[in-house]
């Protein structure tokens, strides 16, 4: 049974696209059939992060409007056979997405893949609501910073009211993915702690991705961080998050760049 997962946040720049690529690649590495779908029409970037920007011919809007078949628009990853990308349009605006058209494409994707991962645009408007509408599961990407936490709270409210599941009286499974976390600064009281954010947002924690230079390096190279450097701290955080998404029970820790000692020092402090 296919799962539709939306990666959302409200606030921009917190790591939705990075997380979509990293989670998608990690799921594909675990043998799952995955498609990552860019819903950020007009400001697409998932193609760049995935390193497929020169292979885009057709996009989501072409498929929604019936100008191209889904199979023509899907781009298969060159590194992982089971990973696919459905890019957004760069030239159109999001009004070109109709809810019926999106529903039809999502149905078709559900048949072909194990995981359909929707990369939401920032904001709470139409584009973000279309991206979340069909979701079974949501990953709420949050930075340890007040504006991001506030916007996440807003998005959680929308997940509980403006999704297909909510309309049917069901629930979207919501998970918190904390990104750009600096355990040392949190320990010194300079940054919101994991437990503070969990208490405020009260949704279960999927993972903590530490602030790391490896993320920028991976995006420079056009490779999801879980592929660019699988042993790096952020890659291990995303890989653990994916194992949790697939139902494994793992103790929560913040992977560190200095393996072992760092993890031992901060591993215990996590909720």
């Amino acid at each position: 049974m296919a799962k539709v997962l939306v990666v959302t946040s409200g606030k921009g720049g917190v790591g939705k696209t990075t997380s979509t690529a990293a989670l998608g690649a990690a799921l594909a590495q675990a043998g799952q059939k995955v498609v990552v779908v860019d819903f950020d029409v007009g400001l697409r970037n998932l193609d760049l992060i995935m390193g497929a920007e020169r292979r885009v011919v057709y996009d989501l809007i072409n498929v929604v409007q019936g100008d191209a078949k889904l199979s023509q628009a899907l781009i298969r990853d060159k590194r992982l056979e089971t990973l696919h990308l459905l890019p957004a349009s760069q030239t159109r605006d999001k009004d070109a997405l109709t809810s019926e058209g999106v529903a039809r494409v999502m149905d078709e994707l559900r048949e072909k893949f194990d995981w359909v991962i929707c990369d939401s645009p920032a904001g709470i408007e139409r584009g973000a609501q279309l991206a979340m509408y069909h979701a079974d599961t949501a990953v709420v990407v949050t930075n340890p910073e007040i504006s991001s936490v506030r916007d996440s709270d807003r998005i959680i409210g929308l997940l509980d009211s403006k999704t297909e599941r909510a309309e049917k009286g069901e629930r979207v499974d919501k998970h918190l993915l904390l990104t750009r976390y600096d355990p040392a600064r949190a320990k010194r009281g300079e940054m919101l702690k994991t437990e503070d954010i969990l208490e405020i947002l009260s949704i279960p924690l999927l993972g903590i991705v530490p602030e790391s230079q490896d993320v920028l390096r991976a995006s420079n190279l056009g490779s999801p961080v879980t592929l660019a450097d699988p042993t790096s701290a952020p890659a291990r955080a995303y890989t653990d998050a994916v194992r949790r998404l697939m139902g494994e029970k793992l103790a929560m820790s913040i992977p560190g760049d200095k393996k072992g000692l760092f993890g031992k020092l901060f591993g215990r402090r996590v909720a």
Binding site: R150, G157, G189, E190, I200
Partner: protein
């Protein structure tokens, strides 16, 4: 004051946490219902305006959602007696 600031400079996270808790407690209650309240206010105003002249600012609609009890409070300040006597008869 400077010394106080210096000592507290590093632990800004508790301030952030407290500000967020207060803000979100407020937003979760009022934020979700602000649209409902605005719609109610407009429709109530429209109904009353059919029958008497009232000042738009003198109609207050408040919605309080509690765990056990929720209240909808509608406060309409009537125009002074002289004005209401001067108004034409209701025609229904």
């Amino acid at each position: 004051m400077n010394l106080f600031n210096f000592l507290n400079r590093r632990t800004s996270a508790p301030v952030a946490r407290e500000r967020l808790q207060i803000l979100l407690a407020h937003e979760r209650v009022s934020g979700n219902h602000s649209q409902l309240v605005a719609v109610l206010q407009e429709e109530i105003l429209a109904v009353i305006a059919k029958h008497m002249q009232i000042d738009r600012d003198k109609v207050v609609v408040k919605l309080d959602r509690g765990d056990d009890v929720s209240t909808l409070e509608i406060d309409i300040e009537m125009p002074p007696q002289t004005q209401s006597q001067a108004r034409p008869e209701l025609s229904l």
